[in-house]
């Protein structure tokens, strides 16, 4: 980021995860400085949406980029996000695994099929203006992010989908950057029966209400 010449800060929200995330972040803070690495830990697990709100409160910039910190989202795409945003003054730039050179690593056929099926169903039912609804690697104008979050009702990973649906409702403009998604090297990702039921429930809810 320093080499690319963009002004930035990294805000770390940690909900007391037992893997020592906060300790590592503190060490990094000593190296990079407190103005670059901003730590805003919270006491317990309070959910993704509130973590975003918490983070925005402490963000000093005009734009917010959200990405998973487990390296499945590669920071090398950030300059592309910024360039695209500047080119058309977009409200949101969303990373997409489903278009252009985007893709995934570490997914078997079944996982791909579920992902594609869920994506197709959401496209048909919700008509969003973006191809990747469940990814979370995105750049938002700060007030746009605030507005989308405040109109969201769902929690968990469906939240990402609702954000773009709300964006469509508010007529925000969305552009897309193809990204490669290297599935978690650290830890295992979850996609079980409960996730799928949760997804279907929220999909129908959004279908009926938006």
């Amino acid at each position: 980021m320093k080499v690319s010449g963009y002004d930035y800060e990294v805000i770390v929200i940690d909900d007391g995860s037992p893997d020592g995330t906060l300790d590592v972040a503190k060490d990094l803070q000593k190296i990079y400085g407190e103005d670059i690495i901003v730590l805003r830990p919270r006491a317990g697990k309070l959910g993704l949406g509130t973590a975003y709100i918490h983070g925005i409160k402490h963000a000093t910039g005009d734009f917010v980029i959200i990405l998973d910190a487990d390296l499945s989202h590669h920071p090398k795409f950030i300059p592309e996000f910024i360039k695209l945003q500047e080119s058309g003054d977009y409200d949101i730039v969303s990373g997409t695994r489903y278009a252009g050179n985007g893709g995934v690593y570490g997914w078997d056929f079944k996982r791909k099929l579920i992902s594609r099926g869920a994506n197709y169903l959401s496209q048909v039912l919700l008509r969003p203006n973006a191809s990747d609804l469940t990814g979370s690697f995105r750049l938002y104008k700060k007030p746009v992010l605030e507005k989308c979050i405040s109109s969201c009702v769902s929690k968990g990973y469906v939240f990402q989908m609702e954000m773009l649906v709300r964006a469509r409702q508010h007529n925000f403009t969305i552009a897309e950057v193809p990204i490669t998604f290297v599935d978690r090297i650290y830890g295992t990702s979850k996609l079980g029966g409960t996730e799928i039921i949760q997804f279907a429930k929220n999909l129908l809810y959004l279908f009926a209400t938006t």
Partner: protein, 94 residues
């Protein structure tokens, strides 16, 4: 208009002429001749949509890009970042 309302709206647009023909309110020589075809129309449309959807999803699944290079690159960059961080005085705990 919500998505649900939009779907119901289109469904109604289809259902009104469809039911009036099937229930015999509207009768022409054309509808009497092809009544069975018309009766089966919703089923045919549903099956076609199903085939179209299955085709799209399968096609997209098979053309879903694998990125082995991105994974390899990431592994190398992790090693590079480790070295860089150690040089800056960071101590890894693992």
């Amino acid at each position: 208009m919500t998505n649900l309302q939009r779907w119901l709206f289109y469904a109604t647009l289809f259902a009104v002429p469809y039911l009036s023909i099937v229930l015999g309110t509207v009768q022409t020589s054309f509808t009497t001749k092809y009544l069975l075809h018309i009766q089966l129309l919703p089923l045919v449309l549903l099956v076609l949509f199903g085939i179209y959807s299955a085709w799209i999803v399968l096609y997209r699944t098979f053309t879903f890009n694998d990125c082995p290079l991105a994974a390899k690159e990431l592994q190398l960059e992790i090693l590079e970042a480790r070295k860089d961080l150690i040089a800056k005085g960071f101590k890894f705990r693992d």
